[in-house]
């Protein structure tokens, strides 16, 4: 392999080698060769924060991912939206297809960092960090990740985001896999509800026969303290279908934020599934998030504060969103 030489005017040993793999397989070969002395680099916005903060040392080998073809941009077919891992947060936040079919993801992109950081930072870097604020938004869209890993058969494969997060949680994520892209199923105003989940749901069946029109309601909320140089405290995302009678189905809720792993809130989802929203759910939902969501304490915020914030964000977000929907008629 062809290594760069060191600049004569600078001290010799400290300059990293910057590699330009032409494919994900080449990137993996380099990563296997240099191991912990190397890092995949996308926009480098998070890496720079970690290097300057002393959380990680600048690796001797930087493996560029921007030289790999096909990782940039957003594509769609009839059923899916596929986002290349190297697509910038800015591009994701501006994309009209994502706004229509992945509303919470689009909102999340527009609420990460500031515009200049979003011009450089990528969606793939956000997910690969495992703590990015995109993750709760992607969870409520049942996003799948497309990976390349030469140790895996087949080497290119799709994995549910929720399954990958579980691997991260138990410390079994692959250190070599390259994230190629993210896939979400299209949704939109006329999305049909998933009938199979509602075999025993009386209110759902009644309303479905009398009211065929379902629309998606969704929101994303974030509490952050960026100006104080800290990452976000809490992010929540919510997505469901609602008919004109206010019945909620296919309810999906997730919470994350800070350095904690995001998770789906299945008990909260069950609370609302197949029901007509009632204001009494507001307090119940907030309390349930507090119970269900697993967070952590740090010098800035205790775990109980984070849980309470997540509960309030989700409950208030739902209340506000439903009110807006009712006003729209």
């Amino acid at each position: 392999m062809n290594r760069q030489s060191t600049a004569s005017s600078l001290p010799a040993p400290v300059l990293p080698h910057v590699w330009e793999p032409a494919s994900a397989q080449e990137a993996i070969t380099l990563k296997r060769q240099y191991g912990a002395d190397s890092a995949y680099v996308a926009g480098s916005t998070l890496l720079r924060t970690q290097w300057e903060g002393g959380l990680l040392t600048i690796p001797a080998h930087m493996i560029r991912l921007d030289t790999i073809e096909g990782l940039n941009g957003i594509m769609e077919d009839e059923q899916q939206i596929r986002i290349g891992a190297l697509t910038t947060l800015r591009e994701c936040g501006h994309d009209h297809r994502l706004r229509i079919h992945g509303n919470t993801c689009s909102t999340a992109c527009r609420h990460i960092a500031a515009p200049a950081v979003r011009n450089l930072g990528t969606i793939g870097g956000n997910i690969s960090s495992a703590v990015g604020d995109m993750i709760p938004a992607l969870l409520v869209h049942d996003a799948r990740l497309v990976w390349m890993d030469t140790e895996h058969h087949p080497s290119e494969y799709e994995q549910e985001l929720v399954d990958w997060l579980e691997q991260v949680r138990v410390g079994r994520r692959s250190l070599y896999a390259v994230l190629l892209g993210i896939v979400i199923d299209k949704s939109g105003p006329d999305t049909a509800p998933d009938l199979h989940n509602h075999q025993n749901s009386a209110p759902f069946h009644t309303s479905l026969s009398s009211e065929p029109s379902w629309r998606e309601i969704s929101f994303y909320r974030k509490v952050g303290r960026r100006e104080a140089f800290t990452p976000s405290l809490v992010t929540v995302a919510f997505r469901a279908l609602m008919n004109r009678e206010g019945v909620l189905v296919n309810v999906k809720a997730a919470a994350g934020g800070g350095a904690g792993l995001a998770m789906r809130l299945s008990r909260c989802e069950q609370l609302l599934e197949g029901k007509v929203y009632d204001p009494r759910y507001t307090a119940e939902l907030a309390a349930l998030v507090e119970k269900e969501w697993v967070s952590y304490s740090d010098p800035f915020a205790s775990e109980s504060y984070r849980r309470q914030t997540a509960g309030n964000l989700l409950a208030a977000g739902l209340w506000e969103t439903l009110h807006q929907e009712m006003e729209r008629g």
Partner: protein
Amino acid sequence: MKATSMQWQAVVNGKAQEMEIAPSRRLLDILRDDLDLTGTKVSCEIGRCGACMVLIDGQPMNSCLMMAYQCADTEITTIEGLHGETESELHPIQEAFLEEGGFQCGYCTPGMIISTKALLDRTPQPAEQEIKEGLCGNLCRCTGYGGIMRAVESAADKCAHRSSLSPTAGLPMK
């Protein structure tokens, strides 16, 4: 497998630059130490304060976050590249910051002005919320944001007025 070359080239403030540098060198260091363009300020070095803001192909970017290879073959504009109709005149955004008390110590000002330039190029008459969003990556630790908001509003009017007089006046740089 290929490694990124040490040959770096870019157009900085309208002038072609070619150098032999490490591809991982930060743009901030290239500008301040190699090109002596010290108008770009250095503060947090982790993308949070906006003091190091520059335009890369017209888009605002934090030069402390960007490595040489990430901005090779681009057009880079620093605060030194902004001027009015002639090189000795101030850009209308600079005038507005002066007139409206948009700074005290001035350390954040180059970054504020660069972000304002990017904002007004995209949104010539921004609403209050758009100004806040456009400048949310720039921190000021001494002026308070009232004067800065006024300065951006005034800059929008000045730029609109000058471009109505002449489509190119007041916006000479790329």
